[in-house]
């Protein structure tokens, strides 16, 4: 498998671009008028997971954005997913 140096050589520039995109997205949301919804709060909780280094950042980010409940909902009122759970964590 590749060394850490080789991984950086292969993926750093791409990850850097995505990181700047995230920063620009947050700035864009800040500049916009009105109130944010649950998605931004979930997003910021997920961002905090990036600072932890137990090898499961991707999993924990996905968990921050997931519906943790276990019971089926009474009926589907939409077909679409929005990317974050609207309930309280």
């Amino acid at each position: 498998m590749m060394s850490r140096q080789e991984m950086l050589d292969m993926y750093f520039t791409e990850a850097r671009a995505k990181l700047v995109d995230v920063a620009a997205f947050l700035d864009r949301v800040d500049r916009a008028e009105g109130r944010a919804d649950f998605r931004l709060a979930a997003f910021m909780r997920a961002v905090e997971e990036l600072g932890r280094s137990d090898g499961s950042r991707a999993e924990r980010v996905l968990l921050c954005l997931s519906d943790p409940t276990v019971d089926p909902i009474p009926a589907a009122t939409t077909k679409a997913a929005c990317g974050a759970w609207a309930g309280n964590p």
Binding site: M10, T69, P72, A75, K79, A81, C82
Partner: protein, 272 residues
Amino acid sequence: MRYIEPHAHMVSRVTDDYRAMTAAGCLAICEPAFWAGFDRGSSAGFHDYFRQLTEHEPRRAAKFGVPHYCWLCINPKEAEDLALARDVIALIPRFLDRPNVLGIGEIGLNKNSRNELRVLELQVDLAARHDQLILVHTPHLEDKLKGTRLILDVLRNDSRIRPDRCIIDHVEEHTVKGVLDVGFWAGLTLYPNSKCTPARAVDIVERFGPERLWMNSACDWGESIPMAVPYAALEMRQRGHSDDEVDRMIYQNPLRFLGQCPKFVLPSSRRT
């Protein structure tokens, strides 16, 4: 390079995609039944769709020398209407003996509703009664974790269902372990903005091993990349995986799962 595309919605793709995929080494294409982007108004619409999957699309693929297989079901996105779902499920047995039908799929959940769950149970029962392979769609984004758990409960609660004859598709980092740990196959879907990128899919292969995993493009009418499987193969090579390891992931593994259906046969001259 040789590969099998185990999940592609070719009815939504142009002929150029067949050309590109077969030129890249695709030896078989498998197409689960899915949502058309709008709700069909009656079971007659599904009857025509099943004819398209079993009659027309194989002829289209044959022009490029590639066998086309399919899976039949009513997709969870259309499962809220129980009466329609029952009518469609009643149609399916008359198509199961057709030569390119591999099993029941892609069944599963979308928003994790009670009716979706009921329709999933009905289609699992259909598969069990007809001894069919099962291909399962797991929900999108925030609904995936819960939906995957509910789906595993349904499958594991039916003693007729063998995990090694079911593939749970669209797994990600937070669902793959739960699927593999209880003996099911897991599918890594390569999408540009949701599900897995090629880099993340290869991460998962490296972390969990290649056993009972496959990769697919799930290309359809939305943002998706028909060449995603060969692109993921390129990612594996760039990461230092050998030709044998790549071949196992994109050819041997799907062949091992799909080969459980005796109808899944590749052209003999292209299998080695």
